[in-house]
């Protein structure tokens, strides 16, 4: 599965200056695992060394937050948009 990974401005340096990159995988976990192999400096900003999504990182797959739902087991369809955002935690 190929998806579009959309990144906030703060992460674009870690993605070679790009705000949108291609992702590969049938679940969010697979997409992030693939990212870890290709762009580890980007992936480690989204997940900690245990492989868990960082506490204040939001991920939306086709507009739906994965938080409190399937989290990294969220299916990613062909052509999906995986949107990453910093949470506004703490105001």
């Amino acid at each position: 599965m190929t998806c579009r990974l959309v990144l906030p401005a703060q992460l674009r340096d870690a993605a070679g200056g790009r705000g949108e990159i291609e992702g590969q995988g049938a679940t969010l976990r697979a997409v992030l695992d693939d990212l870890a192999a290709r762009l580890p400096g980007l992936e480690r900003r989204l997940r900690d060394e245990r492989g868990e999504l960082r506490q204040h990182v939001l991920v939306f797959v086709d507009g739906v937050s994965v938080r409190g739902e399937a989290e990294q087991e969220t299916p990613v369809r062909e052509g999906a948009e995986v949107f990453v955002a910093p949470a506004v935690s703490g105001g």
Binding site: Q10, P40, D48, R54
Partner: protein, 365 residues
């Protein structure tokens, strides 16, 4: 000296101050790593030019170590995480509290102290670090408690001549030391009280809330420690500690810094108590001993007048290695002060910065 560089890590970024006139006046670079917390800065003066370090923590994207080999003009980090717990540790890095290069006899060794309680070691000059498992596997580790600032290993004191010896300070675990290069560790807290414990348990083997430990290369067996209630000295590399707080207005505080060329001269910044983290009498005063802690004197010439309420954090004081000493400290209200005469008088280097967490200086030849 050609230039003195002062690294100032703040709650919202890194500021570098530079002096080209023997520390009389300072120019400030624009703030870097905006909105990132810089709890630790470091200088590897074994290299020419010195390698500068900053521990940079994003609220969202985690913690990392960046370094600069051009005196702060550009910064870099490896693609893979410089500091990360191995998979079997089942913990995640929260914060890097200390970056400490080893002495010149271990040219590429750099240590990092982190939260949750752990020590990391680099053998490639501070680019990548590995967990020091000897300390991590210590049976006391599960019993170490978090200090008020977190469960941190905040101080690393390499032995200046013996690469097998290393000492660390943990909140709240106390002081630990190794004689075998980090393979095995022992607590070194004898004589240090833990006032927050029940009365009959105030001198435990470990669990003290040490705030900072400092030493001097010319007298490595001598250590100075600022604790959570208690200022101490050891003359046998931590085997036994004795109080040296007579003459101080309070035995609470955070930083403890030894003069670069006079091992009997030490600086600290007392606060009233843990429940009143303000300077005694609401006066901004650094204290200095010139006799290893037998007597102390207040230094306030050039510092702000009363009332003054701001504190100085444990790593927000440092020296530059020059004689007479440049001593520098940053405050929770974003001021940086400097002395170029061992503390007799002070000038303001900066103000209106974010609250300051870490300060380190280096004088270029």
């Amino acid at each position: 000296m050609a230039e003195t560089i002062l690294l100032v890590g703040t709650r919202k970024g890194l500021v570098i101050a530079r002096s080209r006139d023997d520390r009389r006046t300072w120019d400030l670079d624009d703030i870097r790593f905006v909105t990132m917390e810089v709890a630790a800065v470091g200088v590897d003066a074994r290299r020419d030019p010195p390698r500068l370090f900053a521990a940079v923590q994003s609220f969202h994207w985690g913690s990392t170590v960046v370094h600069s080999d051009d005196l702060g003009a550009t910064w870099s980090e490896p693609e893979t995480a410089p500091v990360a717990f191995p998979e079997d540790a089942d913990r995640a890095l929260r914060r890097i509290w200390q970056i400490q290069p080893a002495p010149a006899n271990q040219p590429d060794v750099v240590y990092a102290g982190v939260e949750p309680h752990a020590l990391f070691r680099s053998e490639d000059g501070g680019v990548s670090f590995e967990l020091v498992r000897g300390l991590d596997e210590h049976p006391h580790r599960p019993q170490w408690q978090p200090g008020g600032g977190g469960a941190c290993l905040h101080t690393v004191v390499p032995h200046p001549t013996d690469p097998q010896r290393l000492l660390v300070a943990i909140s709240s675990g106390g002081v630990y030391r190794t004689h075998d290069g980090g393979a095995s560790w022992e607590p070194a807290n004898q004589g240090i009280q833990a006032l927050f414990m029940p009365e009959d348990q105030r001198f435990p083997e470990f669990g003290q809330c040490v705030h900072k430990v400092a030493t001097h290369p010319s007298n490595p067996e001598r250590l100075y420690a600022q604790n959570h209630f208690g200022v101490y000295r050891s003359d046998d590399w931590g085997t036994q500690w004795q109080a040296i707080e007579n003459g101080l207005p309070s035995n609470f505080g955070f930083p403890m810094v030894v003069h670069p060329s006079r091992p009997e001269t030490v600086y600290n910044f007392p606060l009233v108590a843990d429940v009143e983290r303000m300077p005694p009498e609401n006066r901004c005063r650094v204290y200095r001993t010139d006799d290893g802690g037998s007597t102390w004197r207040a230094l306030e010439k050039g510092l702000p007048g009363a009332p003054y309420y701001a504190a100085v954090m444990r790593d927000a004081m440092g020296t530059d290695g020059v004689d007479p000493a440049g001593v520098y400290f940053g405050t929770r209200v974003g001021e940086v002060f400097a002395t170029r005469d061992d503390g007799d008088s002070w000038t303001q280097v900066a103000q209106h910065l974010p609250d300051i967490l870490s300060v380190r200086a280096v004088a270029l030849p």
